[in-house]
Amino acid sequence: MEKTVNQKAWFLVLPVLILVAFSAVIPLMTVVNYSVQDTFGNNQFFWAGLEWFAEMLESERMWNALGRQLMFSAIILAIEIPLGIYVALHMPKSGFWSSFCLVLMSLPLLIPWNVVGTIWQIFGRVDIGLLGYTLDALGISYNYTQDTLDAWITIIVMDVWHWTSLVALLAFAGLKSIPDAYYQAAKIDQASRWKVFRFIELPKMMGVLMIAILLRFMDSFMIYTEPFVVTGGGPGNATTLLSIDLVKMALGQFDLGPAAAFSIMYFLVILLVSWVFYTVMTNLDKQEG
């Protein structure tokens, strides 16, 4: 059915717009202003044009950080999404144990980022941490402060521990919304467990899974606190992800111009990805509806 769009309702969101203006738009405008100027402090600025953008586009440091960032996001998505679905499929569907599992699953989500970082930082230490000490006692050499692979494994396992529950809870909600009739029909057709999953559960979960992928991608793409607390971006630059690098540049070296140019490009990538996911999601909704 064709219907016209009435955009007048947008005036009702004006209060939010004003709020967002102060929390996001004005800071963003300031960043744009910084990105075309150079400063030596004292609030004095000198015109630099597009110099910082050109410098950042050629900067090996930024491309390396972007590469590490994409690798991190890809790895955690590849683990968390299937694992979350697997957990959701095996959770009790109703009764006391269902509620118990739900509460248990949401616990990691309630812990603040820096606390998660601190937990894992201590957990992995060879001298006092349970994980580090146990691995050491078993004769496995493990040191996340010196070994690149160990550092990566630690921050990935930490992220998986922290966020798989979110995927599982979303997938569980998707599973719960499937009417029994579908399963009964599958049973009449003698569909195998795999076919039930492939042709009933997975398509019905698609909407929430898209949300899960979007949330996890965005969150992991902007991750700062946890790896910063655990590894501080080290050893060397091995776990220096985009935002850690950005903060180092902006606050550590006080290179406001390059950092501003860097963050605008970072912002554009995030905007693009969000838009793609949003469009895919709304189109999925329309197809279902």
Partner: protein
Amino acid sequence: MDWMAWTWPTAIFFMVIASLLITFTILAIKFPETPRTGILRIETTRGDRLFITLLGSAFINLAWLGLVGANQPYALIVCLIYAAAVFRWV
């Protein structure tokens, strides 16, 4: 507003974007439209197409800066062609 470190080019940049948004808001109120489906196979309104145009233009400018590296204003011509294409076919 000193702390925001304004310059004329950035001020003009934001004024252009703001006036585009205002124009499209007025257009949307005065002439309500039906979303249409274009080559991206997604439903878009004028506002969506403006968003796609602006976001794409940002990337076109960055690509020009990274690959060509000189005569940046010419990138705006590419952006205009891109904008026309988006409004015609997306």
